[in-house]
Amino acid sequence: MDCEQVKELLDAYALGAAEPEEAAALEEHMEDCARCWHSLSEAQRAAAAIALSATLCRAPDSLRRNILAEVERMQRSD
C-alpha cells in the first residue's frame, strides 16, 4: 500500500471501518512512514472525538466499587 492509497483509507481505518486485510496493509505501511503516521493520528483524534456525541451517563457506583475491589485483590496477590 502506498501513501496515496493510505490517504484514501485513513478515515475509514480511524473509524474502525476498514476491512481486516486493508487495515493490516495500512498498519504495515505505517511502520515506516512518519508523514502518514501524523495524518493517521489526526484522523484518530477526530474519530475518538465522535464518542463525545454520545449521551454522557453516570456510571453505576458498582462499577467503581468492583474495579477497586479487583485492584485490591491483585495488589494482595502480588
Binding site: 473509524l15 474502525g16 471501518a17 477526530a46 475518538a48 472525538a49 451517563c57
Partner: protein
C-alpha cells in the same frame, strides 16, 4: 500515567473519577446494554491497572487512546455476540439520564468536556444526513465499509466517498477539540 506505572492506587482512582463516566457512556452507546457496558468498562480499567504500559504516550493523547480502547472493545463484544447494533440517536430514556452539567468530580474537566461535546454534536449535526449516517454506523455500529454498503443497499464506492467527505468536514470542524487537551 507515570504514577500509574508505579502502581499508584491514588493515581488510578483519579483517572477513573475523571474518565469513568466517559468510558462507560462510550461502551453503552455501542452496546446499548447497561450491564454489558459495565462489564466492558470494568475490564478496560482493570487492564489499565495491570498493564498501564499498553498506553504509549508518543502515539497520542491518553483520553483519545482510552476512548478508542472503549469503543473498540465494545465493538468486539458486539461482533462476538453476532449482534448488529442500530445507530439511531440516543433513546429518550438515555437522554433523561444525561449527566447534568456541573455534576462531576472534576468541575474544570467537566466544563471543558461539556464544551467539546457541544462542538462535536454541532459538527455532526452540520453534516449532510447521509454522511453522518455512515460515520455513525462505522463508529458506534462497528460496521465495516462493506457492511455499511450492504446495510444501506448502496454501492461501496458511495459509502467510501461519504465517509471521506464527512470525516474531512469533521476534521475541520473539530479542530478546536482535537488540537486541545484532553482529546
Amino acid at each position: 500515567m507515570q504514577r500509574l506505572i508505579l502502581c499508584d492506587r491514588h493515581a488510578f482512582e483519579e483517572i477513573y473519577d475523571r474518565f469513568g463516566d466517559l468510558v462507560y457512556s462510550t461502551a453503552l452507546r455501542v452496546l446499548r446494554d447497561p450491564h454489558l457496558a459495565e462489564d466492558i468498562s470494568q475490564e478496560i480499567f482493570v487492564r489499565l491497572w495491570r498493564k498501564p504500559e499498553s498506553y504509549v504516550a508518543e502515539r497520542g493523547r491518553f483520553l483519545t487512546w482510552l476512548i478508542s480502547v472503549a469503543r473498540n472493545r465494545a465493538v468486539d463484544e458486539v461482533r462476538a455476540r453476532g449482534r448488529r447494533q442500530r445507530y439511531e440517536t440516543a433513546s429518550p430514556e438515555e437522554q433523561e439520564r444525561e449527566l447534568p452539567a456541573g455534576d462531576a468530580i472534576d468541575p474544570a474537566l467537566n466544563a471543558q468536556l461539556a464544551e467539546q461535546r457541544r462542538i462535536v454534536r454541532a459538527a455532526l449535526a452540520e453534516l449532510p444526513p447521509e454522511q453522518r449516517q455512515v460515520i455513525e454506523l462505522a463508529f458506534f455500529g462497528g460496521l465495516t465499509q462493506q457492511e455499511i454498503a450492504d446495510r444501506l443497499a448502496q454501492p461501496l464506492g458511495t459509502v467510501k466517498t461519504r465517509i471521506r467527505l464527512g470525516m474531512q468536514k469533521l476534521r475541520g470542524a473539530l479542530a478546536p477539540v482535537t488540537r486541545s487537551e484532553p482529546i
